[in-house]
Symmetry: C2
């Protein structure tokens, strides 16, 4: 039985069982991080080609508890720079769109269907700044390439534009800086709000099982043994 096919009750039992194979402090850390994870906010990276930038964005997502990152690769292969990433991507759900002809469309349609408002970041257009962006509906923040920014297709699909107010001569931020500021402000605002930003019980359990498994040497073996023992008892 694969872990994704498990019914929710079995999953809870497996989680409970696997919890004995990690230290109490590790278990506590996993649960503490899970309680701060959100899918109310998600990040879309369109054709980011400098590995240190993309990796720094992943690191910020992990630090601020943004679980899902959607990576569109039309023109540039996406590489993670292990030095900047610091292992952050291990704890994120990366969704990659690179095989089709209309990767950006596939990604954005998917997010729309999931109920996300699409927010294009752009140094030029601006409907909102991070302090005022509406957060009542789930929000996907779109970041474009270092030089050209987001594609015309992404800009057209956007429900809102967002821009970080700037007070100097310099006209734009580095993308990793821009993403970090947006995520800092938006997650701060979410956590102070009444919006249900936390993971659903099912999402929580799925990640709990995944992260426990990632913290144990032979999780498949242990799960198999547990399920067999349980079946024998019935």
């Amino acid at each position: 039985m694969s872990t994704t096919q498990m019914d929710s009750q079995t999953r809870k039992q497996v989680i409970n069982y696997l919890g004995d194979f990690v230290t109490p402090s590790r278990l506590q850390k996993i649960q503490q991080v899970l309680s701060q994870r959100t899918r109310h906010l998600t990040v879309v990276l369109e054709d980011i080609y400098q590995p240190h930038n993309a990796s720094a964005v992943l690191r910020s997502c992990e630090c601020f508890g943004v679980q899902d990152v959607h990576i569109i690769e039309n023109r540039y292969d996406y590489e993670i720079n292990p030095e900047v990433d610091m292992g952050a991507s291990k704890w994120l759900s990366l969704h990659r769109y690179r095989d089709g002809e209309f990767n950006i469309g596939a990604c954005l349609n998917h997010l729309k269907q999931e109920g996300y408002q699409l927010v294009a970041t752009s140094p030029h257009e601006h409907d909102f700044n991070p302090v005022g962006l509406p957060l009542d509906k789930p929000v996907a923040i779109l970041f474009g390439t270092e030089q050209e920014g987001l594609s015309a297709q992404a800009l057209q699909a956007a429900d809102f534009f967002m821009r970080i107010p700037m007070a100097g001569f310099t006209e734009s931020f580095n993308i990793s800086v821009s993403a970090a500021i947006c995520l800092f402000e938006l997650t701060n605002r979410l956590k102070k709000s009444n919006i249900p930003w936390q993971l659903s019980e099912e999402q929580y359990d799925e990640l709990h099982l995944e992260w426990l498994s990632a913290s144990i040497k032979t999780p498949e073996l242990l799960i198999k043994r547990f399920l067999e023992t349980r079946q024998a008892k019935h």
Copy 2:
């Protein structure tokens, strides 16, 4: 007469005169940026050795209107990466400490005498986060090297510690990301407060003259001609 020796009235006249040699939109931009500049908040970089990190911090300072950056070079020569800097350092006052034996002491003593509270950023220690840090007195934010963080001397001299709250497994932010988040939050809070964070009239005029001069081809010649004409009139 050097522009720094000018009395304040002469300086105002020179500024007024030079204003005719730039476009109205340029003049407006300069004055708009000046009105958003602050010395209430300043940044200290201790031995940052990756040029793209230091440059990204300068770019963030410029974007958020933080005029002074203090750069301590004990172990590493400081280089600006023109690609990341985007010309930002041209509009900042960079103060470098690299020739003495106790560069960090020289810098921090100077800032203390100027009335700054020293705030050490550290992923471990934390008195405050950027949302709660007291801002009533001028504040200098200290950032240390990528690997080791601030020196023992800098940590000892600090009045407060500050840390960005993190919700993931990753334990620290990249320094350029960390600086940008701190500056975003602290300048936002300053601008919403009643604290007199703007430049004094004299500081404003000094920079006004400097920036006008940087926007004109032969400023020294124009200033000399103006002063001679004025003297001839008296």
